[in-house]
Subunit: 531 residues, 2 copies
């Protein structure tokens, strides 16, 4: 089976309620997604998000392997296709692949578009025809195909026929409400196959009833050779087919060689980085296959069984997808990213030496406190650099004070003061912020500015986004992002006291900012700003 | 089709890494789950969690409709069944239904149990036989049935045959690693059907590959008449079949009358309350069917389409599962729980009056700030009570100061002081805590203790668990739980400043604690302590 995968994390994924992607976000995400070996990378919908044009302009510089794809609707009713604004915007992108969607369900044609069935077919023919004339590869998605098929089979199939005849390269069938059961998917696929002859059929399946994956397998069983999905299943409402689950099932359970072993082994890392960039990192604990906690074994029975035969309680080998087994009773786990970063400092953590034993015991202590670093590798780098003698602390904090006064709803004052040694001198500095994080950050900047050697670096630092969430036993995890000196980095602090957790992350972040640390692996490239 | 559902949120659900349930938690969860109309409610595994015996002792007082079920393994190898500790503990429970699991996969029999195939079958026969003799209904789960079936079909089927012959009432087939695809489920089910004659077959399917639901549908298609699942799909590793998705699919898409319309309409509320009680509320935003944000429509295209024809982008009607449509451009939504609580104060929020318009505009303003109350109804009650003249604020806060000093890793001082009017008198009080939340709480208690009329109530209050997480636009949501005066309640605060968010929740919580508010509906009964 030759199967192609289209990733639409940057387009359908961005329709998830809590996801809002800037062009910069998309440019950070694209190489991560590309590294998984997907065949098409859908970057945006220029008619709905004008800024997507900038993405299409800039993405060429990244040298990605996937074919860049732009998304849009067929032309509007009663317009000349060449003068249609949506068509013009699609042609403005240099994208070699155009993904068009058209209406199939008569409910949509008549109620939503307010046009006739014939005009809807003409819109489809004109739009696909124009893009083919322009030399683009065309993927056509028949939106709501399965709902339409249920209500008016003849019209749904006429729609597919029009797409084939106009020259569409791939015809993808949409379950756009995620309302179909696997039986309907198979029936609809078989009827489509009879209609379109040898054309390639694909799937665009939503997950409103948690069935996107079930339906994808049903559709593949009935002859689909193209699947559209997203990292972690993001997409409108509850999302669409989750590539982080589908790819391992295809490769490891069905023997479909859709991605390489190396690409598959990146999956967990990519899934978690993408989650942090889009701001949904907290959902990654129990996510199937790629979640942080899903190869975890909790009861004595399970732990004992897994120690004697891992397959006793594991659906796949965690290493195959870059995940890690965790036995919740004993033992230190050494995730790939930890070993990778250690290697930057010339430390092979898999070898048995006294120095390694010390490093691992320090890291184990931090792990026991809840520290993980997927989204905050700067903190891990600082620890490893210090443990291997590559960096020394530049700030000697003696005392921090935070002072907040709340008077009624809108009168709050937050002040901070810090006694600190910088460059051998003891300074006493103060600052004020709109809330504690800002007050704590600004007092650190004030301290740096007190040292002539650090003032310029301090002025170049910028505080980015802070994220906060509970860890299991009443602790709080705070991550803080920073930019400056051509880099972008994130640090982490964990504590029962939210202020101390913030302070830990901020101290790390500022220390990192004034250091020369800059890990240069491919794995970490997304932690760096593109110029 | 007569189908029975077993809920094992309290047993398999408690194997989720971040879930730890006390007996009190289980007694709060049981009536919620029971209200969904499940047929069996599995309460625990006494041999692994000794305290589960207390749950089985106390659950009888709740008058639940579901048949209470206790879980355990078949007897150990080479023991006399009546002297087996696990068997004795199961018999100690008054549970009318015993759910036994036995090994089927020869890998487990030989490597994990370290016994022979014949002895394993004898363990099964003895254990089922003993429970039947004791007059219990017996559900037998053939653990790893599908893995076993793949490797040694003959032995797997011999296992099922032994269970039938020993008198098991229901024989459930386990995909205990969640490693099987739907085709294998169907093949395994059909072979089982040929072996067990007219016995009832069931399914216990894990979700490690995100396929629990797909496999459940495949198994039902091949003749299963019993399904085991949990609220929100909790369970070991990535969980098991999610009843919050399965029940609506059965009822609304497949026409199986497994629960009533009223029970189904409770689903979203129950799902979110359970999530908050087990501590995973932050996962409920994008959960299919019952999530807070899954009937949300984001683009102009989608919103316009849904306004003209909701089924254009909705897999089911949200009202059927007690969920709410949200158009992210205009409009106020009025969730069921809000209308319910308003009714306690004699306010029918669906009627058009000037008073209602005022109430709704205040609530809309809070909603715009991010306020939701599923897990914090005490805050909503306070707002509604104030808006309808049923309660007045007892504390007039003039000024709060929080002061924190951090000296090195383990020397932190957190102090608070408060200028406040209580009972017409202005007081100035101070307190000290291990971290800010405690310091802020204690200073409020000090203020109450300054008033002779409130001292006793203040001494009865206890601070419970605090939860913290980000909301989308850089805000923090803090909920705090309290107990006292025979009640248990939770309040919420939202702010860009984490300290102010805590303070808002604490003020509400203490105000509620000294008030006489106590909503008495069934819906809110889980917010109250059982004596």
């Amino acid at each position: 089976m030759t199967l192609t995968i289209l990733d639409t994390t940057l387009r359908d994924g961005a329709l998830t309620e809590d996801i809002t992607l800037t062009v910069e976000d998309k440019l950070r995400l694209a190489p991560l997604i590309d590294s998984l070996g997907v065949h098409y990378l859908e970057g945006g919908w220029p008619q709905v998000e004008g800024r997507d044009l900038n993405f299409f302009e800039q993405v060429g510089d990244l040298g990605l392997k996937a074919r860049i794809t732009a998304f849009g609707a067929t032309r509007r009713p009663e317009t000349v296709v060449k003068r249609d604004r949506g068509m013009q915007l699609l042609l403005e992108t240099a994208a070699p692949v155009i993904h068009l969607y058209g209406k199939v369900w008569t409910l949509h044609v008549e109620k939503v578009l307010g046009t006739t069935r014939d005009e809807n077919l003409a819109m489809l023919r004109d739009s696909v025809g124009l893009m083919k004339e322009a030399g683009r590869e065309v993927i056509y998605t028949a939106e709501h195909y399965f709902d339409g098929f249920r209500e008016d089979r003849e019209y749904a199939l006429a729609n597919l026929k029009a797409a084939v005849e106009s020259g569409a390269d791939i015809i993808s069938l949409g379950d756009s409400n995620g309302a179909s059961l696997p039986e309907l998917i198979q029936e609809g696929m078989r009827a489509a196959r009879d209609t379109v002859g040898s054309a390639v059929l694909g799937l665009h399946l939503h997950d409103d009833l948690g069935l996107a994956l079930a339906n994808t397998l049903a559709g593949l069983g009935a002859g689909a050779a193209h699947v559209q999905g997203t990292v972690n299943g993001y997409g409108a409402r509850t999302g669409i087919t989750d590539l982080c689950i589908l790819l391992p099932i295809l490769k490891l359970k069905m023997g479909v060689d859709v991605v390489s072993d190396e690409q598959l082994a990146r999956l967990s890392d990519v899934a978690r980085r993408v989650a942090e960039i889009v701001g949904l990192g907290e959902q990654m604990d129990h996510h199937p296959v790629v979640g942080r906690k899903v190869f975890a074994h909790k009861t004595q029975t399970h732990v004992a069984a897994v120690l004697s035969a891992p397959q006793a309680y594991e659906a796949i080998e965690p290493e195959r997808v870059g995940n890690t087994r965790r036995l919740l009773l004993p033992g230190l786990t050494r995730p790939t990213y930890l070993q990778e970063i250690a290697r930057q400092y010339g430390v092979d953590l898999s070898s048995d030496s006294a120095a390694n034993a010390h490093i691992l015991s320090v890291l184990k202590g931090l792990e026991d406190q809840g520290y993980t670093y997927e989204d905050a590798s700067a903190s891990l780098e600082l620890r490893l650099a210090a443990l291997t003698g590559h960096a020394t602390l530049q700030l000697g904090v003696e005392r921090l004070r935070l002072f907040e006064v709340i008077r009624g709803l809108n009168q709050t004052v937050v002040e901070s003061s810090l006694k600190v040694r910088v460059d051998g001198e003891t300074l006493y500095v103060g600052a004020e912020g709109r809330e504690p994080l800002e007050a704590l950050y600004l007092v650190l900047i004030e301290a740096l500015r007190g040292s002539p050697g650090l003032r310029e670096k301090a002025d170049g630092l910028r505080l980015g986004r802070a994220r906060i969430r509970n860890l299991a036993p009443g602790k709080v995890r705070v991550t803080v992002s920073f930019t400056g000196t051509g880099r972008e980095w994130t640090t982490v602090g964990i504590d029962q006291d939210v202020i101390r957790a913030m302070w830990t992350a901020l101290l790390d972040g500022v220390e990192y900012g004034i250091s020369d640390l800059r890990v240069q692996t491919g794995q970490d490239s997304t932690d760096q700003i593109r110029d």
